[in-house]
Structure formats: C-alpha cells, structure tokens
Symmetry: C2
Subunit: 161 residues, 2 copies
DNA sequence: ACTAACTAGTAGCAAATGCAACTATCTGAC
DNA sequence: GTCAGATAGTTGCATTTGCTACTAGTTAGT
C-alpha cells in the first residue's frame, strides 16, 4: 500500500507547487489574474520597473513565458511597458494604479498560503523551512545554470560537485 | 500583518518544481518519457497495478491529466491496463517488461536530483528538509481537501468568468 | 566604420495541466 | 427490482510552459 506520507523530496515539491497554484489561482481569479501571472505581479510589487529579462532571471522562468504573462497583464491593465531610453531592446515594466489598488489583497493571499503551509510550525521551524528551501533552490539553480553553460561539452563525471 | 520579506516560500517551491521538471525531463528524454509521465511511472515502481483513480489521489493530480499520461505511457509500451473484474469502471495499470527494464535508471535520476538539491547539507539537514517539506505538503493537502469537501455546500455563486 | 557576437524580446509549436461536461458502471434507499 | 446519486474514466477546451527560431538593437574587436 502506498504511504502518502513517506516520499521523496521531488514528490513533495511537485505536490506543493500544484497546490500553491490551485490556492493562489483560486483566490485571485476574481481579479482575473490567472495562475501564470501572479508570480510576476508579486515580483513587481517587490520592485517596480524591472525589465522582462530581469523578471525572467529573478524567477528563473523562460523569457518566452515571461513575455506572454506580461503581455496578458498589460492587456488587462495591470502593467504598462516603457521602452528604455538607453537600450531600445528592452522594456521597463511598471505597475498601474489598478495593480497598486489590489496590492495588499494579492500579497495577503501569499501570506495566507504561507501560513497554511507552516501550520503547526514553531517560528524556528518556519525560518528553517525557508532557509532549507532557499538552499535547495540555490543548489538547483546553480546546477542547472552550470549545465546550460556546458551544454555540448561531453560527459559529466558521476562524482558531481 | 503583511511582511514583504516572508512570502518567498511559494517562489522557491515554484523554482524547485520547474527545475526538477527540467532536470528529470532532460535525463529521461532518451527513453521518450516526457515531463508529464515520470511521476506516474515512479508511482507504479513503488506499487504496480494501481488504478488511475488511486494514482490521481496519491499524486493529487487531476484524473484527466492522469488519463492522458497513462494513455501515452500505454502507447509507448511502458504500461498495460486491465479492466477490473469486480468493477468494470476502473482499470489496473501494470508495468510492462520494457518499463521494468529501465526501472533502476529512472529511479536513479530521482536520487541524483535529490543529491543535487541537498548538496552541502548535513545528514541532519537532509532529514530536516524532508520532514519540513512533508509537513508542509500534508498541511497543503489537508487544507485543499477540506475546502473541496465544503465546495457546493454553502456557496456556489453562479458567477464565473 | 564594419562586422561578428551577444542580448532583449517575440512568435510558433508541442506538451502538460486543470476544469467541466460527458459516458458507463456501481451503490443504496425505497 | 428501480432510480437517484456516486464513482472511474474520457474528451474537449483554455491556459501555462519550455523550446527553438527569429527580429531588432547593442557591444567589442579589428
């Protein structure tokens, strides 16, 4: 019999990801903000005026995906784009008044979700969880980025690191 | 109370999820196993002969998604389905010899990924990470399932779109 | 100044995913 | 038994996502 509680890290990660998308998507759908957009909106709430390239690299999301998400947010009136003066290839993405209006509501959803996830955690455990996730994320990002740089270079040693 | 610096758990989760999909998908693509299938294959390696419904509920993945993934695995010759005798609505999903042949390779990919994620972790930290993820996953599952049970009971506002 | 290499963003495709509507089977209340 | 409601699975649709190829603007080497 499969024991749902005993499993690998990748399975928990994928479960947490899908549930997060469900929860956040559900809580934001009355703003017409879909599952693909909230992550960008939240990044802009942290720092307005980022370029698409900066959003992509911060979130580690493909630039094509970013372009489509930003395009949709723009069509919905949540952001505007302004061509940079000093580099006509790139755009600054700015939040509109409409986006700023719902800022606290949107951020609150994330805080609520975080609280649901860490229910029953001590403050110390919350910090520990955040830290460990961060370290795993950094490890993953570092590995993937390294691989990408070496794409085409043969065989990797099974020793890793 | 909104704390702007404490809502990053969802961001790390989504990063870890996407990178996991990339890594595993990349390492399994020469078996023609796409990003959507490996999770089902691994569940069946744990326990063969599950029904689609059991797979869906174990992985918390939509039954439509499960149907499509299993269909693809069947077309590729990795699984066969057998109608249950005692319930003609459901199918047992069985691994084929072809799937069993690559079992260790496929499982090894998961182990490798876990090792990448926990690089630089002490044994204690690894266990801690696993445990905290598990607790967060359980919290999430519990919350979402509870919500689902209550859907339609009280609200059901016919307001969509 | 020229041009090759690089970079930001876009477009098109295919796969994956969730949801809702549907079919077929099963269960339980009567 | 019969029929309403639940359950397993399928299908169609819309959204999201990553990849690759492409355009246009920028940088650096000569």
């Amino acid at each position: 019999m499969l024991d749902p509680n005993k499993n690998t890290i990748p399975r928990w990660v994928s479960l947490l990801y899908r549930y997060s998308q469900m929860y956040i998507g559900d809580r934001l759908k009355h703003f017409d903000i879909g599952r693909g957009q909230h992550i960008f909106l939240n990044s802009l709430y942290k720092e307005d005026g980022l370029t698409q390239e900066e959003l992509s690299s911060y979130l580690k999301i493909d630039k094509g995906t970013t372009a489509k998400a930003i395009k949709k947010l723009e069509q919905q009136g949540y952001v505007t784009r302004k061509l940079r003066d000093d580099d006509k290839r790139s755009y600054h993405v700015f939040l509109t008044a409409k986006a700023l209006e719902i800022r606290e509501d949107v951020r609150a959803v994330l805080v609520e979700w975080r609280n649901i996830l860490s229910q029953g955690f001590t403050e110390e455990e919350k910090q520990q969880a955040q830290l460990l996730l961060e370290r795993m994320g950094t490890n993953a990002a570092h590995y993937i980025d390294t691989q990408k740089d070496q794409a085409g270079v043969c065989d990797e040693s099974p020793h890793g690191r």
